[in-house]
Structure formats: structure tokens, C-alpha cells
């Protein structure tokens, strides 16, 4: 194998690399969703503008640190070249802006409703701010990037009985290759390693890291039990069961295959940053979009999302590659899917062959090819909340 990196990207001042160069408009209050969306769609720079909507209206409660971490991390994702944070004009918003600025030296404009003195005036200021930033962003060119530039997120959603034998192990092959070459790869979804944690812990680089994997799962199970709910009664989801999965443990054994066989370098809290290359586990909910948003806030720059039932979602800042676990779904929902791993079950390709196709697709998408979710304009966002549970 040629070990020279085939990646190109945008080098950032904090040492990270982006594979897109967006102008992000990030509203910090749900009253601003609509006007931000209007700027994104109406500005001449629209193709490189991205934005999100969410339901936060400034409430500061037991989730405040998590909220601040997600917004500030999202604002500085390496796929973003410049960010316009739009708020009402509160101290809590300033705290989010300051946290973002401390993570990365980049153009971050903070515009407030209070300073603008009205919704239209705020909208004009956002529009003008995009116009001012646009020339420098559009002139930035890609340069050759090392393998370590890649921070790959591993995700699955709408899993079925094929997930653990087709798409997930094939993604594991691709993940192993990248880790071996010096990139970073992150497995997540704590619920979806429940029952498989001992197998992952055995692959930890140190006993402490192994124990951390076991502890994360135990803490997760306690936090759900605290709510008075037996997780095994709610999972696998009904969609999973219709897809042929029988138990949470079966789902977990299949889900963990996305991380291949590489050793684990570390365990990350939700939306926390990997510090050196290698394979990590991040403690996230299984909820697809909460996971994706946590990845975005942790500098993940490409995600591969395997799916058995078929799902359209994507991130406002991370290209998200969909891999179908079965050929029937890949054919029936063509505009949702980038690659079909169902060929493994069909007997026409091996896991290694599909793994190689995923590896190549990740490089192509990193280098600028649009994923199906990007073509579809998907920008789902989820502010993860714990609502005072023990974790």
C-alpha cells in the first residue's frame, strides 16, 4: 500500500485540518433561527454558508457546561473557516463566544440583537458580516494534508441484522487502515457498546484506559436506572427489531465492529477533544444527531454512518457518508446512500473489498466530493441534554 497521504484540506491555526471551508452562522436563541436561515439561503455566498436551528432559549441549568461546550466546540470545528455567532446579548452568550475563541484563533464575529436594536437590523448585520468574510474564505485553497489531519467519526443508526456482518465490519477495516496510517478514529454511542464493553476494554492500550471503557458503560447504565427505566426494555428500538435484531447485546456486538481491531488510545467525555492520533471511544447517547453534534464539537471532520433501515440525516459542519448494510434498502432509498455494503451478504464482495471502497470514499469526500447528505442539504443539530440525571 502507498503510505503517502492522499488527503488535501485547509490547515487551521490550532493544528487541526478542515476538509470543508464553511462560513457558519450559529444562532444562540431559538427566536433567531428563522432570520439566520433566511440569511443562509438568500446570501450570494449561500453554497458555502452553513447554519443550524435549535430550541435553546438561553436557559442555564444543570446542563449549562454541556451546552457551552457543544456550542463553542461546534463554532470552531475545523471544517469551518469563519463563524458568526448570533445572540440576544447576554453574559452567558459571551461565555460561549469566549470559550470558542480560546479554542481556535479564527474569525469569530459575535452579533447581538441588543446591539443591532431590532430583528431586521440584526439580519442586515449578519448579511454584511458574511459579505466581509466571504472573499478571504473563498480564496483559501486546499493544500496536501497528512493522514493525521483526518478525525473520523464512526456512527450507526437504524441498524438491522446485517449491520454487524456487512457495513460495520467493513467500516472497521477502513478505520483500522486510517489509524495505522496515523489518523484519529472515534467510536461512540455508549448504549451501543453495552454488553460488548469487555471486548473493547481488552483492546485498550493500558489497563487504565480499559477500566475507563468499563466505567463509562457502568455510569451510563446507572444514569438510566436512576430514571427508573430498564434500558433493555427500550432497546433495541422497534425499528431495530423489525430489522431482525433480537437483543441489545446483539446490537452492541455488531455496532462495536465499526471500530475494527485497532487498540484504544483513550476514552473521551461527550464533545471532548482527542489529543493525539489513534482510536478513541466517546461517551455519547445513541441518538444519531446527539452523537453527530458531539462529534462536531470535538473536531471530527468526516463521519461514516452505517444504516440498515436508511436515514437521510447529516451535520451542518461534518460531511457524513452513508453506508447501507443491505442491497434491498440501498436500491430502494438511492438518494440517501453513498455506498452499499450489502454486497457482502449477497456474496459478491468480501468485507476487505468493501472496507477498501469505504477507505477510498472517505478520501474522496475529504478531498471535496459531496456526500448524499450534503447534496440533500441536511444540517440536523441536537443540543444534548441530561436533564439532571446522574451523569
Amino acid at each position: 500500500m502507498n503510505r503517502d497521504s492522499q488527503l488535501t484540506g485547509f490547515e487551521r491555526t490550532n493544528g487541526r485540518w478542515g476538509f470543508r471551508n464553511y462560513i457558519l452562522i450559529l444562532p444562540l436563541h431559538n427566536a433567531l433561527n428563522q432570520l439566520v436561515d433566511e440569511v443562509r439561503t438568500s446570501h450570494p455566498a449561500s453554497p458555502i454558508i452553513t447554519s443550524v436551528s435549535h430550541d435553546w432559549s438561553g436557559e442555564v441549568d444543570t446542563d449549562w457546561e454541556r451546552i457551552r461546550r457543544v456550542f463553542s466546540g461546534f463554532a470552531v470545528n475545523p471544517n469551518v473557516g469563519a463563524t458568526i455567532i448570533v445572540g440576544i446579548g447576554t453574559e452567558d452568550e459571551e461565555s460561549i463566544v469566549n470559550a470558542a475563541r480560546s479554542r481556535r484563533n479564527m474569525p469569530i464575529n459575535y452579533l447581538t440583537l441588543k446591539d443591532a436594536g431590532g430583528f431586521e437590523k440584526l439580519q442586515e448585520r449578519i448579511f454584511q458580516s458574511v459579505s466581509e468574510i466571504f472573499p478571504s474564505i473563498s480564496q483559501t485553497v486546499r493544500t496536501p494534508a497528512p493522514w493525521s489531519a483526518l478525525v473520523l467519526g464512526l456512527e450507526c443508526g437504524g441498524s438491522d441484522a446485517y449491520s454487524g456482518i456487512t457495513a460495520n465490519p467493513a467500516l472497521g477495516v477502513a478505520s483500522d487502515k486510517f489509524v495505522e496510517l496515523g489518523a484519529t478514529s472515534i467510536l461512540a454511542e455508549t448504549m451501543e457498546i453495552l454488553g460488548a464493553e469487555h471486548l473493547l476494554a481488552a483492546r485498550a492500550k493500558s489497563p487504565e484506559i480499559g477500566q475507563a471503557i468499563i466505567d463509562v458503560v457502568a455510569r451510563y447504565e446507572r444514569s438510566i436506572t436512576y430514571e427508573g427505566i430498564d434500558i433493555r426494555g427500550a432497546q433495541p428500538s422497534r425499528g431495530n427489531i423489525e430489522g431482525g435484531l433480537t437483543t441489545l447485546e446483539e446490537k452492541s456486538l455488531g455496532a462495536a465492529k465499526k471500530a475494527g481491531n485497532a487498540p484504544f488510545t483513550g476514552v473521551l467525555d461527550y464533545a471532548h477533544l482527542p489529543t493525539e492520533p489513534g482510536l478513541y471511544f466517546m461517551d455519547t447517547p445513541g441518538h444519531d444527531i446527539e452523537q453527530l453534534t458531539g462529534f462536531a464539537a470535538a473536531d471530527v471532520n468526516i463521519t461514516v454512518f452505517t444504516t440498515g433501515r436508511g436515514t437521510p440525516t447529516g451535520s451542518a459542519v461534518i460531511p457524513t457518508i452513508k453506508v447501507a448494510t443491505n442491497t434491498e434498502m440501498a436500491l430502494s432509498l438511492p438518494d440517501l446512500i453513498d455506498l452499499n455494503a450489502g454486497t457482502i451478504a449477497d456474496g459478491t464482495e468480501t468485507v476487505a473489498e468493501v472496507g477498501d471502497r469505504i477507505f477510498k470514499e472517505i478520501i474522496e469526500v475529504a478531498n471535496g466530493k459531496l456526500s448524499a447528505a450534503e447534496v440533500g442539504g441536511h444540517r440536523e443539530f441536537n443540543l444534548s441534554r441530561l436533564y439532571g440525571s446522574t451523569q
Binding site: 433561527n33 430550541d55 432559549s57 430583528f119 428500538s237 425499528g239 447517547p285 444540517r379 443540543l383
Partner: protein, 268 residues
């Protein structure tokens, strides 16, 4: 005298909106596209999957409250297919009382392009010119922290005219109090935002906003409010009648504000 719209099984409303209701985060993007093309209301949210315990029934009940609101003429539920809160069951629980409701599911629609086409066709089939109808008993929500004297006066005026009042002030944030008022089937809302909160609206319900004189934020935004803090009872009551009869409130005209789905428990 108020003239509203006969919204079929949902009663008489002060507006007549079609709601495109994504039953899960995964269909919110499609719902927005459909709503934009057929002139309906939709909203982005992050719920419907990975929910457990009280949130499964709680989110479903909230969706029913939105879909059955008297200002809603009909509802199209959009689901993905594999989510926790199954769209067909959300639809069933709406249809029970509000039959002008249909369901489209992405995973059985040959992809997003197919789902978009069938959703648009379904939405259009439910549309029609709503009949005008008299509305003798308005339900008016009052949210936030009104000055007690004005609250007492306007409540007297509203009730004296045969209408009723529902108060909501569990939260500092207007957008969360609106959730309580949609459940109470309020036709219209008077919003007295917290001093640190902006004037805001609600996609299905006209919201009249009243500024707080002690808030520097509100003073900076005074032209974004429908009324100043010193509004008298007569003018405020007239404003209620005007907006109920179709005059858009400021937040309504500018489409400010979004729907917040209440949650109790973390996602799994």
C-alpha cells in the same frame, strides 16, 4: 365581534394553518421543504428517537396538542420509519379526534425525492379555503411577568367580554411557556417576556408582545414589541381584538420564534 376560521374537527380558530409535523428529527429537513412549497407551518426539533420513559408518551401528547390546535386546519405527519416514536402511531392518536390528518413515511417512499413528492401531494389534498365563522369565546394565554395591575385589568376586560384567560409562567423563557399554552388550546397569546428575553412568537399562535420598562434589552428593541409597558387596558384589549380578527402581530409578521418540544429525561 371576532370572525375566525372553521377548522373542521379542531374547532374555530383565529388562523387557519396547515401543520407539517415531523414525528422525528430525521424528517425535520423534509418537513421544512414540504412546508415551504405548500405554504404550511413546520419546525425543526431533535426528538422522536432515542427517547425513553415519560418522554415517549410526553412527546406524543405534545405532537397531538400541536396537530389538534384550533388554529390548525389539517396535519401531515412525516416519519422516517425506524424511530422510537412511530409516526403511524402518532398519526393514529391525532386522527382519533382530528380526522383531517395524513401520514407519509420516508423509508417507504423510494427515498427523499419520492417522499417530497408524495408529501406535497398529500398536503395539497388536505388544503382548501376555510369557511369563516364567528368566534364568541376566545381562549387567551398570558405568559411571563405582567405588571399585576395591568394583568388584573386586562383579565377583567377579557372575561367581561365572554372570553377566558390561561396563565403560564413556569419558565423564564417565553418559548417554553408557549408549550403550556398550546396544550391549553389558546387562540392567541399575550407575552410579557422576562427582562433578559427577547420578544418572541409562536408559529401556530399569534403572540402579542408587551415590553418591560425595567429591561435595557426591551428598551433597545422597543419597536419590535406590539405594546409598550405603559399600554392602557383599552388599547391592549383593542389590540387583542384586532389580532384575533387577522391583523398580524409583530412577531407573527416577522416569523420570529419557534416551537419547543418539552422533554423530561435524557436521550439514550
Amino acid at each position: 365581534m371576532i370572525t375566525g376560521y372553521r377548522n373542521n374537527s379542531r374547532g374555530v380558530g383565529v388562523r387557519s394553518y396547515q401543520l407539517i409535523l415531523p414525528s422525528v428529527v430525521c424528517s425535520t429537513h423534509l418537513a421544512r421543504k414540504v412546508a415551504d412549497q405548500v405554504g404550511a407551518i413546520s419546525f425543526a426539533h431533535q426528538h422522536g428517537c432515542g427517547i425513553i420513559g415519560p418522554d415517549v408518551s410526553g412527546v406524543n401528547e405534545f405532537f397531538v396538542a400541536l396537530a389538534g390546535h384550533p388554529n390548525v386546519q389539517s396535519t401531515v405527519v412525516l416519519g422516517l420509519g425506524c424511530e422510537t416514536l412511530q409516526g403511524n402511531e402518532v398519526t393514529d392518536s391525532i386522527t382519533k379526534d382530528y380526522p383531517e390528518t395524513e401520514y407519509v413515511v420516508i423509508q417507504e417512499s423510494a427515498g427523499m425525492a419520492g417522499a417530497l413528492d408524495s408529501s406535497i401531494a398529500t398536503a395539497k389534498s388536505l388544503q382548501g379555503d376555510p369557511e369563516r365563522a364567528p368566534l364568541n369565546a376566545l381562549v387567551i394565554g398570558i405568559e411571563g411577568s405582567p405588571n399585576p395591575e395591568l394583568l388584573q385589568q386586562i383579565t377583567e376586560d377579557i372575561q367581561g367580554a365572554g372570553h377566558s384567560v390561561v396563565l403560564a409562567n413556569r419558565y423564564k423563557e417565553s418559548s417554553r411557556n408557549f408549550g403550556d399554552l398550546v396544550r391549553a388550546k389558546c387562540h392567541l397569546i399575550l407575552s410579557f417576556p422576562d427582562p433578559l428575553q427577547p420578544p418572541s412568537g409562536y408559529p401556530l399562535i399569534p403572540v402579542i408582545t408587551i415590553a418591560n420598562a425595567d429591561s435595557p434589552l426591551h428598551l433597545a428593541l422597543v419597536q419590535e414589541f406590539d405594546c409598550h409597558s405603559n399600554v392602557n387596558r383599552k388599547d391592549l384589549f383593542q389590540k387583542i381584538l384586532d389580532v384575533a380578527n387577522g391583523e398580524p402581530s409583530k412577531s407573527e409578521a416577522k416569523k420570529i420564534g419557534d416551537i419547543v418540544v418539552p422533554r423530561m429525561v435524557r436521550s439514550v
